[in-house]
């Protein structure tokens, strides 16, 4: 370093400044930079569609939990004298009754809860299988990855619904079977996404640095890889849940899912379709609940994907 040759000036303004003091003062007012997840949240907050969806889904969740403790009527209580009441005609049956005189509102509450429960558990199982599978595949690479990927290829060569039905045939009928069947057919995509993400992170500098510093593979996988795949996992989950809701509805609609008298949105659709020519509200009500939930999950998923994807961030 050369030593600056400095002479002094008479004018106060033209005196040299000790740079260390200035930079110290400046660092106090330096722009705070946001962490990755803070930025994602910041981005999500500005996405109106996603925020409305989030609030709507939280509302549905609260209502579903509340309906565990209180419902206007027993969803299975039949009252033939009050059957097929139209909505808004009877104060104690705001959404009308079905062909057996059961309260539509209570049945919707109950059905939504069952559908949500099936979807949430299926998604949980999906995560429990898909995430470790993808992590191992992406992190180990090489031969292990090769074998795991071949297995995935074989599974995904069977169309989803065919696989679900095969599983439903051999499992004992019931909710657990539906959950398992849906999860066992949908984890493949989660595994693929987590694998891709893990492979990407694996080649980043901070993982290389961690390796160089002697952290064990397990430590790296849990301390570096997993936290950085969280975005992918959350986003994927937001698409798995509506897919599971849809599959449950479809299975119950066909008649191989949740069996009557238990209500899920699918069984409600099934019942509603039978009398659709005469009592249209009996189909439209579950249709509305189902589609609003699906739309909300999809919009929220889109918002999350944009928020977690740095490529789309910043452009408005």
């Amino acid at each position: 370093m050369e030593t600056p040759k400095k002479s002094t000036s008479k004018n106060e303004e033209f005196q040299f400044v000790n740079l260390d003091e200035v930079t110290a003062a400046q660092s106090g007012v330096a722009q705070k930079s946001l962490s990755f997840h803070e930025k994602a949240w910041h981005q999500l907050k500005h996405n109106h569609a996603a925020m409305v969806s989030l609030i709507f889904l939280l509302f549905i969740a609260v209502v579903s939990v509340a309906s565990l403790f209180w419902m206007p009527h027993d969803p299975n209580a039949q009252n033939v004298s009050l059957s097929n009441l139209k909505p808004f005609t009877n104060g104690s049956y705001p959404l009308g009754t079905d062909g057996l005189g059961r309260d539509m509102f209570s049945r919707l509450l109950y059905g939504t809860r069952i559908s949500l429960m099936i979807a949430l558990f299926a998604t949980l199982v999906d995560i429990l299988i898909g995430v470790p599978y993808g992590l191992v595949s992406g992190w180990c690479g090489g031969r292990v990855d090769n074998i795991l990927q071949r297995i995935i290829e074989i599974i995904s060569s069977i169309p989803e619904l065919v696989l679900i039905m095969l599983l439903l045939i051999i499992l004992k009928p019931g909710m657990v079977s539906i959950i398992l069947a849906i999860a066992l057919s949908s984890w493949v995509l989660m595994a693929r996404l987590v694998r891709a993400s893990a492979m990407q992170i694996k080649s980043t500098d901070f993982v290389l640095a961690a390796q160089a510093m002697g952290e064990s593979p397990m430590q790296i996988a849990f301390r570096h890889i997993l936290p950085n795949t969280v975005g992918v996992i959350i986003t994927r989950t937001m698409f798995t849940i509506p897919a599971a809701i849809f599959l449950e509805a479809l299975l119950s609609f066909i008649g191989i899912g949740v069996k009557a008298p238990n209500a899920s949105l699918g069984t409600l659709l099934n019942t509603g379709e039978k009398g659709f020519q005469f009592y249209q509200y009996q189909l439209w009500e579950p249709v509305l609940v189902l589609s609003l939930m699906m739309i909300a999950f999809n919009l929220l998923g889109d918002g999350l994907r944009d928020a977690f994807d740095p490529n789309t961030r910043g452009e408005k």
Partner: protein, 310 residues
């Protein structure tokens, strides 16, 4: 390229073999006799039927004879439809399914590309908002409900289209529309994202720097590059269509394999279920291979990657 196709074909045969084996043993895992549920038979009759279907032999012998049958295109006899072979059942039923699925695919892809392009080019305007909303609804709204609504309102109420009959092109229209909603939405979202990305790329900027007008930039440079990757969607779309066709065929009474599959599941008609599973599997693998090959032919970049690998 040839090497690649042969490799893929071998992988496909292996996959089919594994799937056939898996479904066979899955079906054998089901407790009780498959005939017990559907028909009320005396013990002697049941034994006779079991013998007719070869169910009295040990499992490994059944497996061997099933697999040799499969190799010769013989998937056994249906339990449900007496004295009909699974192969001929599928053969008779496959036409209508392929027809409406193909129509739905074409319709969905064309409309989807249009909507996606409009969305990307008019990004941030009401046109973009409309096409995005349509896409979200298309993805979220279950196809079987759409089928019911179409059937009731356009079929029964307005009487524009025949309902619950299978007779010529008019009867394919409603199932086609119901089936095409999800592909339309998927393609439109995909094309929009692709095109937004392409429009942000350097070569688009360079095309503008050459003095091309926006319509020229889009038609000469952006369109082809954003639509070609849509080919990668064909595989997932095939899965969507297979799923959708099962219920939609059921609702519109289309005599296709989707309806056959659902009926067989409800009636525990295992030979048909196994046959159809293999058929679907073959169909899906075939479509994936075909799209990969076509993709390689249309997009020069893929070829270079292939070369890089070998």
């Amino acid at each position: 390229m040839r090497k690649y196709i042969i490799k893929r074909l071998l992988m496909m045969v292996l996959t089919l073999f594994i799937v056939a084996t898996l479904t066979f043993f899955l079906m054998k895992m089901i407790p009780g006799s498959p005939l017990g549920n559907t028909m009320k038979l005396s013990k002697a009759q049941q034994l006779a039927v079991e013998k007719q279907y070869g169910l009295n032999k040990p499992v490994w012998q059944q497996y061997l004879s099933y697999m040799t049958g499969v190799l010769h295109g013989n998937f056994g006899m249906s339990y449900q439809y007496n004295s009909t072979t699974v192969a001929s059942l599928i053969g008779h039923r496959v036409g209508p399914s392929i027809l409406i699925s193909f129509q739905a695919l074409v319709l969905g892809v064309i409309v989807g590309i249009l909507l996606g392009c409009v969305g990307a080019l008019k990004k941030g305007t009401w046109a973009d908002a409309t096409s995005s909303t349509l896409a979200v609804i298309g993805i979220s709204f279950p196809s079987f409900i759409l089928a019911i609504l179409l059937q009731y309102y356009l079929g029964f109420k307005l009487g524009w289209f025949p309902v619950a009959s299978w007779d010529g092109f008019p009867s394919t229209i409603l199932p086609t529309i119901a089936l095409s909603a999800v592909p339309m939405a998927q393609v439109s979202r995909f094309v929009r994202t692709e095109m937004v990305e392409v429009l942000n790329s350097d070569y688009i900027l360079l095309a503008k720097a050459k003095g091309l007008s926006v319509p020229q930039v889009v038609s000469h440079h952006a369109l082809k590059n954003s639509i070609i990757p849509t080919l990668t969607l064909i595989g997932p779309l095939a899965v969507t269509l297979i799923t959708g066709s099962m219920v939609v065929e059921n609702i519109f009474s289309v005599p296709g394999i989707g309806e056959l599959f659902i009926n067989s599941v409800l009636a525990n008609d295992y030979p048909v279920i196994m046959g159809l599973t293999m058929f679907y599997c073959l169909l899906l693998c075939g479509i994936l291979l075909l799209t990969d090959v076509v993709y390689g032919l249309v997009d020069p970049r893929i070829l270079s990657k292939e070369k890089g690998e070998h």
